[in-house]
Symmetry: C2
Subunit: 227 residues, 2 copies
């Protein structure tokens, strides 16, 4: 059984790569830079998107694709900020897929006003494993890691941390109230991904939000410069 | 592609059910009650097992099977408490499986001294989606939900909350420092699983640990009574 499942997964990943490349071409043609935003459940992806949008992204017009197993709670939150948003639910497949894949994102493209945005933030399903395996056509990958999850997460979920160019270390306002050691968390991130940009922030206190906002706002220019 | 993947998943679930039943028979024969402990990454599964073991489980002799994508950090922590522990890593499959399945647990059975324990706690991979889909031969399912993850998690990951008979609401010591509303979290749990036992606790402060310890210690008697 195990061998069979692995072979099927590899086939699925092959197909996923093909569709991700097609998505990427469509995004490039529309001049839209895409960030795939990932994290464990409740690390603060939506809250950090809200804070960045509220802080203002300058000339950069953002749109958001929300991925969830069920419901539209996050899309409803983003819609209040008057930016284009679409909700993708993964629950038609297999009791709820634990990640977005390129084909799901492809199905959502028609719902997104690509001509009216410069940046698409795709908020993945909350999960530190499988989302890292499936490219969806993104230019950049960012993840949110809450200090409340403990300092050992980079060592337990190394592929996720390794596959992201930006790690947002969120909820730093909680540091005085938890046992997690920030320096050890940062050292663990460095150990698995020495090239990552690491930004410390708190969606609740607002600390560090400007650097995150600036990273998002600059992504379309960075992508255009490397095209 | 999507239709193919769903069919394969159903086949895998069929095979999983067969192997889970075989595991269950082996556990029953050995007189071992089994709890499948699940949560998002960093919710506190290991810390709550540590606190329960430290508090003492009375006559109940516990063993622990730790499931992680990589590494043995959690098994090392449990080993310090001088209870039998085995580590199962999922990374040989597909860049790291995001859940334990019955076949993985079956492969670990030989590593566990079933004759010397009454209760086996299987700590699943941190993930609120797929672990709920795969029975591993357990008698009971419990999950840990950290208040730091926010009050909306039962609505976003309903299958997980629905499939557990016990929900440990952990990190309640953080409530004064976060925006999450405990009453709304409890109402959301009730909405998706009105039959769940819900225990509030904090691995850090020790609040509520006795009720959790008592639930664990009583599981072998409850399982025997319904056999």
């Amino acid at each position: 059984m195990h061998r069979t499942r692995i072979r099927v997964a590899e086939d699925a990943l092959d197909a996923n790569q093909t569709i991700a490349a097609a998505n990427r071409e469509d995004f490039d043609r529309a001049g839209v830079a895409v960030v795939n935003l990932m994290s464990a459940p409740g690390a603060g992806k939506t809250a950090l998107l809200e804070r960045a949008i509220e802080a203002g992204l300058g000339e950069t017009r953002i749109g958001v694709l929300e991925g969830d197993v069920q419901g539209s709670l996050d899309a409803d939150r983003i819609a209040h900020l008057h930016v284009p948003v679409a909700q993708l639910n993964t629950d038609p497949g297999f009791g709820g897929e634990c990640h977005l894949d390129a084909n799901m994102v492809r199905a959502a493209l028609a719902e997104l006003p690509l001509a009216e945005i410069d940046l698409l933030a795709i908020e993945n399903v909350g999960n530190l494993v499988c989302p890292a395996e499936f490219r969806v056509g993104e230019d950049a990958r960012a993840m949110v890691c809450s200090v409340a999850e403990g300092e050992d997460k980079p060592l337990k979920y190394p592929l996720m941390f390794r596959s992201c160019e930006l790690v947002c270390v969120n909820k730093i306002d909680l540091l005085p109230h938890i046992d997690a050691d920030l320096d050890r968390l940062l050292a663990n991130i460095e150990a698995v991904n020495p090239d990552a940009t690491v930004l410390k922030m708190s969606a609740r206190s607002g600390e560090g939000i400007e650097a995150w906002r600036d990273w998002l706002a600059a992504l379309p220019r960075r992508v255009a410069a490397t095209a």
